[in-house]
Amino acid sequence: MNTDETTLGHIQELRRGTVVLACLIRLRTPDYGYALLESLNSLGILVDANTLYPLLRRLEKQGLLTSEWNTDEARPRKFYRTSPSGDQLATALATDWRRIDDALARLDTGDAR
């Protein structure tokens, strides 16, 4: 295995949980799968479609997202929205994320040692 592959694997692992957090925050405004994908990627939160669509389904099953079919346009689209429990989870995850970020920063500057 070359170094790039190793790096890529670790980066992927680091990002895995953040995609959930990003979805929960972003979907406080309802949107459909492809639009969500585009907006996350344009923000630099890189996520694969084959990861995102199953993830949306799973989050809905867990009651963290609610969904509604929008048939106003030519093609029906499923709009997802963060549910109240999803919102709570987003807050908890975001807090944890910041805590880890702080801790890493302190480790890096040497304050904690």
Binding site: G33, Y34, A49, Y53, P54, R57, R58, W69, P76, R77
Partner: protein, 323 residues
Amino acid sequence: MTTLTDRYVWAAARTLPETQRAEFGRELRERIGDVIDAHVERGAAPADAEHAALVELGDPLQLASSYIDRPLQLIGPKYFLTWWRLLRLLLVIVVPLAAAGVLLGQLISGADIGEMIGSTIGTALQVAVNLGFWVTLVFAVIERSPGASVPVSTWTPDQLPQPRDDARAGRLGDLIASVVFLTIFAVAIVWQQFGLVWIDGERQPIPMLDPALWSFWLPYFIALLVLEVVFAIVIYLRGWTWLMAALNVLLNLAFTVPALWLFLSGQLFAPEFVEAIGWPWGQASDITVTVIVFLAIGVTVWDIIDGFLKAARNRGGSALGGY
């Protein structure tokens, strides 16, 4: 006319439970439509765009699996260790038992040696393959039943193996030698019943040992051989101790004393056998008898001394030899 999209959706949806198909199909169509639109926006022809979109989505079966969290492995990490431990346990117990059973059956029915080895190995292989298949099948089914809750084997520190030290590795050779020798001995005791003497290339139905001994002594010796196997296994696991050396004395005496007594009082061999091999029993055979008796006693005494020597060596033993 069915489009590529229709075919793709059908291919992916048919592997799902029926209740989820309609909703899944609708979601998938939305996704494919959006990807096609993106390709068209970038300037592709609609037909090419559809093709490209489906290539992007990849294998429909894999896609469907990712949507419903269906495992793409036979046995996942949740059950793998349980499966592996159970399979190993069954293989270690059932295969030797089945092989021994067949071997015994063949011995009793008096099959020739080639047939005996062949059918024993054949049965062992069959049993092993069957065990592997059925155990794995059951676990693969459990892996795919969402509601099933099988108690996953919980690990406790008691299951920790003893570090395999050099002493035990050295004893493995002794164990194998003992078990092989004792098995052959036991088989020979049964086998001799069907005759060991060939005259003009034909096996004579003359037992070597007196058949009257089957009422007590031969079963007694076979039982003793079984005990010796158990003893050899315990030695392998625990090593020699003074207690084991003492038990070794008892086992040796229990075997050699009755055997010598039967031999010397002329009860051991069947009279027909003695006659068939033309052994001048009770005449010029004094030297032969003396040699045999001394050999038997010598082997026994050596075995006893060997036990004590090993026990003595073990006492000074290595840091790991604390058991």
